[in-house]
Point group: C2
Chain length 481, copies 2
């Protein structure tokens, strides 16, 4: 498209959202914030960044783009991990930013729901709920910038999934602008509704490739009276799985966090952030952070935790443990877990895998994959940690000490991914547990997903977005389009 | 189709599943069990009943039917409430019964999942889990006959939804035979998997109109140590909503049942089953059955329940209450709730509504609808009860005393439904909370569902089942087909 031929579209977009809310490079705007992906891997080039202020404006923008066959890249906080919300380099795609749709529409205490615009920042949502005495349990590292629309589009995970599920499980209703620019008002707060196909779950996790989420009704929960954190040392990964079973049995839905950390991962935290005083890591191959959320009292939560840890020690799956005495200690223990990615970055370049496996098979998976990697990539250092409660491991690999890191990555990332994903396939796991596909893994997906599933996905994509204008180049190649 | 022209298909089906497992009227078979719907409302006429024994056989049957453009009616236990699993009267549709696919494939204790054939009877699944120390929480009146495939196809609800969700929320993976006779093996036991559109949720609740569910991986839970039941008397429906909020706050995920019952509903139980000795009903406009499932001990569960009921009495939302002292008492209290439909049947004909409304708006909804019905249908008696914890009411209407009941129903059912559903629409509720649409409500759906949602549904149906052979005439009219 030439600049001249796009002028009518730009003018129409300005008419819809207002002069100030259509940004283009030609007008001297700096579009870096919308064109560069979160991890700084790729920068695209947008035809324009459009910032509508209402669902009706979003619908009009979509219709204007459809009329001119202009692809649309929906974007929330642009904090995704897989290059899923930025344009390609063609300069022909419009970035549709949802951040001006940022109102909390209604908190319904009696129905335990909150209805919000898609551009609401996750932290705002958490705070609004807290003010009313409720918990919105979705919690992520990027919660200060990411939007609930982005969380829904990618079905974000986080640290509370073991109790509350992914973003998908927290959503009761959606408002969506379809690829044709129609508004589907599915903003229901119902816990039961069997009147047809579940369109909500189809749009959730579709990464903006089927339509644009503009609003959502989400579940909220009574704020727990107490949240206690424990840190335990374990002799093996098998012991961690055993401890998880005991924790489910003893704490039931009180178990709101269960994170595992390998010895080398903790050694990196100890090395780069010695002030954190990581407990137990020197004598223990594995440690676990557990959280117990209680609706009764701190005393009750503590007694429950103590009984669990006693039972675990008796069973031999925990060798040592500490329960945080106060909020500061709890935060410090969680901070150790959260510092692993930072410590990895300090140590140097690394290869990340966001995988999931049935919890029961994780020990065998790790043993087998470790052995393969050690054999094929001598000296590679395995940084294993993650949300064991959900079977989700960040199974990362740090370059060997002393080698040229950039060269190691350039040469070894693809063959190493191939080894890891081959074992994931054999264990019937997922190559993207919580981060999605985006454009980063779009070429990988067909190698690891059943052809029947891919065929069904393509048929759905063509049925709902026949012009292939919704976030093209993300998630799914649509041959024949 | 003439009998002669269908002979090659029948022969091919016999070749696939074996001579004994293709039943036809021409061969003298009695097909009543497959042709008559559960509530005995309608009897269809099947071309044949086919009973495959494996997923591969199901796929071959679907291909044989597709090749001859023969519609397929998938059927599990045939216990649905909306005439969704029986053939029409044309004699051209094949009933595909899944009941020979009835194996428990694997219980994975460490992953807390069970993988089963679709034709497994729900009660078998519950019992298999119990043997291994786990709870499979789905629980329905028809659990001795219904199959998990049918539960998934209709997204069945039941009495534990307030804690564990509908069948949908219990499912992690599916195996499905598509309309083209391909097998999608999505039998994963993963709690996190963001690799594309959620096909699982699309097939769940689609009532067999998109493909045939042949297997499923379901979540299981540690068996609670104690389950206690309470029965409380309340001054108003507003008080019931207030009690529900207090119960969520005090019991959190321990709250596994919350059923409300109106005075007239309980008076019918008292009248027709006086031996049940219904408590409180004479002095109370509403009563509630609550269940508290506890992972600690019966003492703890009882103390929690007592604290809750004290708080509720102090707040004025409960006037009297009893906690069951033992299992027999608990069963007796639940039996009162479960006897309401039977008492209704004893009393005479009635009009049933399976609706859901945001919990917070239920008191206003009931007040408004009651007033409208009393005005327009003098003497009609309102039998209101249901799963208040999920916002799901069985808002039924008993014919006035002394009138000709059949005539009342014939004349008043349609106008009465119109009044109730009009208010449901204004309250943004659902006209089918847990029973689905089937053929019974297929004509009603377009009047109460957004045209945009219906358009999306039709596009999906056409994309996945372009020949319209999967359970045609159920759920969704597919004009233009």
């Amino acid at each position: 498209m030439t600049a001249a031929s796009t002028q009518p579209l730009i003018a129409e977009l300005r008419r819809i959202v207002g002069q100030d809310y259509v940004l283009t490079q030609d007008d001297g705007a700096d579009l870096r914030a919308w064109e560069l992906d979160w991890r700084g891997r790729e920068r695209g080039k947008a035809l324009a960044v459009v910032r509508p202020a209402s669902t009706q404006e979003v619908a009009q923008v979509v219709r204007a783009c459809a009329a001119t066959r202009t692809p649309i890249i929906p974007q929330g906080g642009n904090t995704g991990m897989v290059v899923g919300s930025t344009p390609d380099t063609s300069g022909t795609q419009v970035v549709l930013s949802l951040t001006r749709l940022n109102k909390v529409r209604q908190l319904d205490a009696g129905n335990m729901t909150i209805t919000v615009d898609a551009g609401c920042v996750l932290q705002t949502l958490q705070e609004e709920c807290e003010k009313a005495g409720f918990l919105f349990p979705l919690s992520l590292a990027s919660e200060g910038s990411c939007t609930i629309g982005g969380n829904l589009g990618t079905n974000a995970g986080g640290t509370q999934v073991v109790r509350y599920g992914n973003t998908r499980e927290l959503c009761l209703g959606l408002e969506v602008v379809t690829a044709q620019g129609e508004i589907w008002d599915g903003l229901l707060g119902l816990r039961k509704d069997n009147t047809g196909y579940d369109l909500r779950h189809l749009f959730i996790g579709s990464e903006g490739t089927l339509g644009i989420i503009t609003g959502a009704t989400m579940k909220i929960y009574p704020m727990p009276k107490s949240q206690l954190t424990a840190f335990a040392a374990l002799p093996s990964l098998e012991a961690a799985v055993q401890l998880l079973g005991l924790a489910h049995e003893h704490l039931s839905a009180g178990l709101t966090g269960f994170e595992v950390m390998g010895q080398f991962a903790l050694s990196l935290v100890n090395k780069h952030f010695p002030q954190q005083r990581v407990p137990f890591w020197q004598e223990s191959p594995w440690c676990v952070v557990l959280e117990n959320s209680d609706n009764e009292s701190e005393e009750h939560a503590r007694a429950q935790f103590e009984r669990l840890l006693e039972a675990a020690m008796e069973a031999g799956c925990v060798t040592d443990a500490v329960i945080a005495e106060n909020l500061a200690q709890a935060k410090a223990l969680w901070h150790i877990r959260e510092s692993i990615p930072l410590a990895q970055a300090q140590e140097g370049l690394n290869i990340k895998h966001d995988i999931s496996i049935n919890v029961s098979r994780i020990p065998a998976f790790v043993a087998e994959t470790n052995a393969l990697l050690e054999q094929k990539f001598p000296g590679a250092r395995l940084v294993t940690y993650g949300h064991l409660g959900d079977g989700n491991l960040h199974y990362n690999v740090q370059a060997p000490e002393g080698v040229d890191q950039k060269r190691f990555l350039a040469e070894q990332e693809a063959p190493m991914n191939a080894v890891v994903y081959e074992v994931v396939d054999r264990y019937r796991g997922s190559i993207s547990a919580e981060h999605g596909i985006g454009s980063l893994k779009i070429d990988k997906l067909p190698e690891h997903k059943s052809p029947v599933a891919l065929g069904l996905m393509r048929n759905i994509k063509r049925a709902l977005d026949p012009l292939n204008l919704m976030n093209p180049g993300k998630l799914l190649h649509t041959e024949n389009h």
